[in-house]
Amino acid sequence: MKGQEIVAARNINLEVKDGELFVLLGPSGCGKTTLLRIIAGLVEPDEGEVLIDGKVMNGVYPSDRNVAMVFQNYALYPHMSVYDNIALNMKVRRIPREEVDRRVREVADTLRITELLNHRPKELSGGQAQRVALARAMVRNPRVYLMDEPLSNLDAKLRVEMRAELKRLHRMVDAPIIYVTHDQVEAMTLGDRIAVMDKGVIQQIGSPIELYENPKNTFVASFLGTPPMNIVSAEELVGVDGLKGLSPSGSLSGLSVGFRPGDVAIGDGPLSFDVEVEYAELLGDEVLIHAKRGSTRLVIRAASHTYTGQTSLRVRLDPAKLYWFNTEGEAIRQG
């Protein structure tokens, strides 16, 4: 089909180090999977170079790049047994049968799938299929691991389990892992470094804590953290006592203020204002209060005993935990 040219990712420049778990994080359609496929050699970029160990990989056939990939839908070969799925790469490379067998059993043991080796993929549960996909990648001892949302098809409980498993496997291998996900919790818990992508552009690269504490723009700020950071136009907060004095430009016009749900407290004092409560979600020892100020919605995380079902509240901001953004949504660093 002829269609308009779509640029999936542009001006990407990043370097991944040995032993690192590098996460590409972004909403669906942001270009992160395309980037991964470019690294794998499944897609050739229009411009630019992919280097592995300093060697240019453009035009090199995927398998000759010595990368292993774990796909979102596992992509196991349905007509082959688990054993053959894991062994195919080595068979293609004509590695002696005994060697193949030894390595398949070794990796199956590591991933606890030995008893599944004679099964067909369709007989496996999601978690088992994912382990097989991981085994297929690990058995090759690749230079780079590429993982494309490997946990997104698992149910919540299994996802947490597999996350821990991945963390364990990561410590066992030296090769870097490039991990694509749209789940910020996954990114925060697994990643050594994270690149946040949106609309084909990398918004920010850094360690999870750097991104969380110093987001470069409103996109990164609202993408990391659950519930996301509240970003309120400063004009909505005109009249809040003491706010203007904290503004980096000395005025409130054209700015937005960001604050995490946990950095708002119920109560009066400096930097306080009234909000209307829409509804509250009780999560046990804490409560998420969904509130409104003017046309802006915000979320407040509070200890459950401090909220007693009021429909309007006075809340207080923490002056040390405010983020300021300009009209373009870029963070304004405070000196």
């Binding site: 056939y61 398998s63 990368v67 292993a68 796909f71 839908n73 070969y77 349905p78 490379r93």
Partner: protein, 279 residues
């Protein structure tokens, strides 16, 4: 429980009787053919005698032993199998190319191939015959086999099926070190077994039953296929049709297709579903 209205009863009765009549129109000739093949009389009377009688198996013995029937059977088998093997293989290769490879003009080429389905065979029959004459292939097996190996139906059917195989599986194979031709033979083709089966069955039956083209290009009697050979039971000068022998020959001709249908019935349905599925 709701009462069934008289209207619905009437509608049901109508549907069932129309279906019954249709079924009879299809079945009676077959039924008559089978019982006729076991009778002594060579004539076909009207109205036909539809009583189930088994008078003799002599017609079968005659057809098998006193004509070149086993030889024609072999011809038909050989031709149908060759056409099937070649056509399905070529169809799957080009179907795969249309489904997965990216090249200039792919879609235009594909729709052109599909468009040939709309051209009735008699339109091209003279051109094709002249081509056979020029090639010196008249009265050879390859004249029957080679033109049938290009089948737009098979290309279409295989392409539709290959598009349903997840791209990720083929990507995984690329990363595992399979080259494009190995991906085809070791991953795509084994996964497309149902499509292979469906197109093989259709092609085999089509080739087995083919009449017009073999009639044109096969001249000598020993080259004949079964549909042509049945004509021989019309008698020496064509004045007398030996209906009992002819029906016996017909029953023998039908057996492979019926066996295939019974054994592979589910693939027939699948084949229809496949060719109708969205790509």
């Amino acid at each position: 429980m709701s009462r069934i209205s008289p209207r619905r009863v009437a509608l049901l009765a109508l549907t069932v009787s129309v279906q019954l009549i249709l079924a009879l129109i299809y079945i009676i000739p077959f039924y008559w053919m089978v019982i006729k093949s076991f009778r002594f009389t060579i004539f076909a009377n009207f109205p036909p005698n539809l009583l189930p009688t088994l008078q003799t198996v002599g017609n079968y013995v005659y057809v098998w032993h006193f004509s070149a029937f086993p030889h024609w059977y072999l011809n038909s088998t050989l031709i149908a199998l060759s056409v099937t093997a070649a056509s399905v293989f070529i169809g799957s290769l080009s179907g795969y190319a249309f489904a997965r490879l990216r090249f200039r003009g792919r879609d235009i080429l594909f729709y052109t191939v599909l468009a040939t389905l709309m051209i009735p065979f008699p339109v091209v029959i003279i051109a094709e015959y002249i081509l056979m004459v020029d090639l010196g292939w008249v009265n050879t097996y390859q004249a029957v086999i080679v033109p049938s190996t290009a089948s737009a139906v098979n290309v279409f059917l295989m392409r539709q099926y290959f598009t349903t195989i997840p791209q990720e599986v083929e990507d995984a194979a690329k990363i595992d070190g399979l080259r494009p031709h190995q991906i085809f033979f070791r991953v795509a083709a084994p996964l497309a077994k149902p499509a292979y089966a469906a197109s093989a069955i259709y092609t085999f039956i089509g080739a087995w039953n083919s009449f017009l083209w073999p009639l044109l290009v096969l001249h000598s009697v020993k080259m004949f296929t079964l549909p042509l050979a049945i004509n021989f039971f019309k008698g020496a000068n064509g004045s007398q049709i030996y209906w009992n022998q002819m029906t016996a020959a017909e029953v023998l001709t039908m057996i492979p297709t019926i066996v295939i249908y019974v054994v592979f019935e589910k693939y027939f349905v699948k084949g229809i579903a496949l060719s109708g599925s969205k790509g």
